[in-house]
Structures are given as structure tokens and as C-alpha cells.
């Protein structure tokens, strides 16, 4: 009896170790393939030049710039909205049917497929507001997509501020607004920002929402206004793999672009994770 129990335990634990090992092996293989095949492509010219000869030569500079602006504008749009919503939910909202609907909306938005965000952007920003296929339409679509992530991160950050802080501030005669702006938000800000940085990675890597709202396969030019079409790193990878007729030359460029995108996303998220780790260690309450 004890022997079968011990055997079962051993088998079960080994199975768990096998599962996590499989996951790790895949991750290592994946990163190895991308970085070993794409790493060769990376040089100064690749990062700073425009594509040439129907995407078979040259670099990806316009795509880097496009992704940069799409990300900055969308976060600039989503961050204030996200923080305000989180402030409302944590500080002002009393349980009511409206607050329940807001919560269900946020959870639903977090689960809506990104391609549907793309159709939403096409209908609302491209067609209805007549922004056309542009940096602006794409950034707004991505901003809407990032909102639920930022709201959840901000809400969690604000809730982790000890209630004593709020009570002390109110007891000293500060108003609710002063307490939020001068005590609660400054305390929660580092955690809000790390959550936001992680959503930056998500926004920078999204392809489906910008397919019909912002992205263009090829332009030598950099965007001069928010109404221009832009190239973007994720869309560039997709286009190189599915369009054009020089696969032998395009696939290596796609790998190179993937390295740049992946390095960007991983770097940004790693920074966020390290900041958060340090904050947790330093935390005095």
C-alpha cells in the first residue's frame, strides 16, 4: 500500500517536471531559432536604412519608427483614461448595477479578439471619423485594446496602497481629490507604470488591429503627420512572409525583423519586471 502510494507520488511529480521541462525546451528552441537565424541580419544598415528593391534588400528603419509612434501615441491615449477609470473604481464607485456593467465591460474588452478590434477601428476611426488608414487610426485602435490591461494594473496598484495612507490624509483635512492626487496616486505610480510597460510590449507586437487601420506594406518615407500610413515591425514580418515573390531573400529579413521586435518587447518587459522586483523589496509597508 505505501509502496503504491509512494510510486504514485513519484510518477505524478515526475510528470509535472516533464511538463515544465517541455515548456522550457520549447521556449529555448523558439528563441534559439529566431535569434540564431535573425541575429545574422542585424547590423547598422539594417536598423537605419529603408527597404530597397521590393523588400529584398535594405533595412527596416521606417518600421521601427512606425512601431515607436504607434506605441507612444496609443499608450498616451490609454494611460490617462485607464488611470482615471481605476481611480473611479477604487475611490468613488459604490456597489451598483452601473459599476457592475463597467466591470463586465472591462473584462469583456480584455477578452475581445484583436481582429475584432481591427474591425472596430476600421468602422469607427477609418470610416466614421474619416481618419483613413493612418497612424492616428492605428494608435487609437491599439489604445482601446491596451485600456483594459492598464485599468487592471492601475486598479491593483491603487488597491495595494495601505488604507492607513488614505485615512491619515483624510484625517489631516485633505479632501478626497487631494488624497487621491497627492497621496494615493504617487504611492501607486511605480506599480501602475510597470503594469503599463508590460502592456507596451503587447501593443508593440499586435498585428491584427493595425492590418486595416494603419499598416502599409511598403513606404520609403517616414511618417510626417498622424494622418500618414506607417510601416510597423509586426506587420512587416507578416507581409514579408506572405507577400512578394522572393521568399529566399524575404525570410531572412523577416527573421531579422522578428529579432528587433522580440528584443524590444523582451527588453521593455524585463525592465518592468526588474523595477517591480526592486520595488517589492524596498516596500516598507
Amino acid at each position: 500500500m505505501t509502496r503504491t502510494r509512494k510510486l504514485q507520488a513519484l510518477l505524478g511529480t515526475s510528470l509535472l517536471k516533464l511538463f515544465i521541462a517541455l515548456t522550457a525546451i520549447f521556449l529555448i528552441l523558439f528563441l534559439y531559432v529566431i535569434f540564431s537565424r535573425g541575429g545574422k541580419m542585424i547590423n547598422w544598415e539594417f536598423l537605419t536604412q529603408s527597404p530597397r528593391r521590393y523588400m529584398t534588400e535594405g533595412g527596416i528603419f521606417p518600421a521601427i519608427i512606425g512601431t515607436f509612434w504607434l506605441t507612444v501615441l496609443s499608450i498616451g491615449f490609454a494611460l490617462p483614461l485607464g488611470i482615471f477609470t481605476a481611480v473611479f473604481l477604487t475611490s468613488y464607485a459604490r456597489p451598483s448595477w452601473l459599476v457592475r456593467i463597467i466591470r463586465v465591460s472591462i473584462n469583456t474588452l480584455a477578452g475581445v479578439p484583436s481582429i475584432i478590434y481591427g474591425l472596430f477601428g476600421l468602422t469607427v476611426f477609418v470610416q466614421f471619423f474619416k481618419f483613413d488608414v493612418s497612424l492616428l487610426s492605428g494608435a487609437l485602435t491599439l489604445g482601446v485594446l491596451a485600456m483594459p490591461v492598464i485599468i487592471n494594473a492601475s486598479e491593483e496598484a491603487i488597491r495595494s496602497v495601505p488604507p492607513d495612507f488614505r485615512e491619515a490624509s483624510l484625517a489631516l483635512g485633505a479632501t478626497e481629490r487631494q488624497t487621491i492626487l497627492r497621496v494615493i496616486l504617487p504611492t501607486a505610480l511605480p506599480n501602475i507604470l510597470t503594469g503599463t510597460i508590460i502592456s507596451i510590449g503587447r501593443v508593440a507586437g499586435e498585428t491584427a488591429p493595425i492590418l486595416f487601420t494603419a499598416a502599409t506594406f511598403y513606404t520609403r518615407l517616414l511618417p510626417t503627420s498622424v494622418m500618414d500610413e506607417v510601416m510597423a515591425l509586426p506587420y512587416h514580418i507578416y507581409a514579408l512572409m506572405t507577400e512578394g515573390s522572393h521568399a529566399a531573400k524575404q525570410v531572412p529579413i523577416a527573421y531579422g525583423t522578428a529579432v528587433v521586435l522580440l528584443a524590444l518587447v523582451l527588453l521593455v518587459s524585463t525592465v518592468a519586471i526588474i523595477i517591480r522586483y526592486r520595488l517589492r523589496k524596498k516596500k516598507k509597508w
Binding site: 502510494r5 504514485q8 507520488a9 505524478g12 510528470l15 509535472l16 511538463f19 515544465i20 517541455l22 515548456t23 520549447f26 537565424r37 490617462p80 483614461l81 482615471f84 477609470t85 473611479f88 475611490s91 468613488y92 463597467i102 465591460s105 472591462i106 473584462n107 474588452l109 477578452g111 475581445v112 479578439p113 481582429i115 475584432i116 478590434y117 481591427g118 474591425l119 472596430f120 476600421l122 469607427v124 485600456m147 479632501t175 478626497e176 481629490r177 508590460i198 510590449g201 507586437g205 499586435e206 498585428t207 491584427a208 492590418l211 486595416f212 509586426p234 506587420y235 514580418i237 507578416y238 512572409m241 506572405t242 523577416a254 522578428a258 521586435l261 522580440l262 518587447v265 523582451l266 519586471i273
Partner: protein, 288 residues
Amino acid sequence: MNNFKELSFKTVTYIASLFTIVVLLGIIFSIFLGGTPVFQYVSLTKFLSSPSWHPTHDPPDFGILSLIIGSLLVTAGALVISIPLGLGSAIYISEIASQRVREILKPIIELLAGIPSVVYGLFGMAFLSPFLIRIFKIPTGLNIFSASIILGLMVVPIISSLSEDALSSVPKSLREASLALGANKWETIIRIVVPAAKAGIISSIILGFGRAVGETMVVLMVAGGAAQIPSNIFQPVRPMPATIAAEMGETVIGSPHFYALYGIAIILFVITFISILITEFIVMRKKR
């Protein structure tokens, strides 16, 4: 004066929160506005039950059954891979790993979740597909099998991190009581901790399902793109998101084909919305 500032700040936060409802309604409104006109050309029953999708033929066929089946098969395949891997990793991290190993593994899983789907698509197209052709001697490496593998690995971090949260929030006293009664560690995990975290684990799987069914780039690049009802897992399919993404660029705004693509989006939205409501319901019941 001060009162005015208080009130206007509160109002600003209130309006920001209402914006989330506006956006959700905007999404629902735009896909229904774009999608319902297709039913002038094809009945809802035929739209859902006909397997022939020939939107550019004359006359066109708008039957999305093969696209729905494509989506469901690829998603089911993805879950077959991601449930054991994700749940296994979660149990290992939460119950067996030492504090140090946990602090390394958790951020790695988080990083894994941030890898852009298009890079997974590239990996599937340029590495996995040629590899499968060599191993299995099949005509195409872009099929249900390869899309399921890639999609499954993409969903692992979602299931893993959410299940891990659920497992770690099981009170320590339950584990101690089980161990004190003579159960060993494995029995405690399987009979006590996992059942106690059941609600969270099921939610994580449903969320993983929603993510897999709606994921676009991987199925667009790796599933092969043939609108057919497959007879084995090495055949290509054309899941719903891939159809929308691939064809929207070629349609004329206001054409029946354009409406039909929005119609697919309605079905996709309804499927994900139902899965979200189920998780909401589970969480709500748990709170009581």
C-alpha cells in the same frame, strides 16, 4: 470653489469609466452594423450550416461552417497541448518549486506571454512547417496539427499564470491539515489543493480557450488557409479570424463579401462573449 474642484475631478473619473462601456457598445455596434446586411443575401441558418465558402464566385456562397469547424479544431488541439503544460507548470511552480526557482520561473512565464503572436507565426511558417514535412512526409506543413502546436504553446502562459494564482491562494491550513492526516505531498496536491482551486483553474482554461479561438496571426500564417472540412489533422483549415484578416483587404466596402466578413466577426464575438460570461459567472459564484 473647492467643492467644484472635488466634483469636477470625480466627474472626470466617472466619464473615463463610462468610456469603457461606450467602447464595448461601439465594438458590438460596429460589427452588427457591418455584419447584419449579409443576411439579405443568405439566411442565418445557411450562413451557419453551409460548408461552402466561395465569397468571390458568381453567385457567391457564404457558408461559414468549415471556418467554424476549422476554428474549433485548431482551438481544441491547442487546449490539448496547453492544459497539461500550463496546469503542470502552474502546479510545479506553486506547490513544488523552491522559493528561488519560483522567483525565476514566474517572470519567465510572464515574458513568454508577451511574445508577439506574429513571431510565433513566423516560427511556425519558417521552422516548424518544413520540419513537419520532413518528419511526417506530408504535402504541407501548414495544417491543423502545426497551428495547434503553435497556438497551444501561446496559450500555456495564460493558463499557467492564472492557475498559479488560484493555487497559491489556497489557504496553507488546508495543506497542513492534509499532511497532518498522513497524506503525502502528491496526494495533498491532487486531492486537496487542486480541487480547492478548481474555480480559478477552470476560468483560466476558458480564458485560454477565448484567447485561442480569437487569435489571428498564428492561424492566418500557420493553419494553411483552405476553407474545407478536414478529414485528418494534417489538412489545412481556414479558421474564422484568419478569413477576416486575409480577405478584408481585398473586398470592396459595402459589398456582400464585406458584410459576410463582419458576419463572421459577429459569430466570433458571440463565442468569446459567452466564454467571458461563463468565467464571470464562475467568479461570482465563488465570491458567494
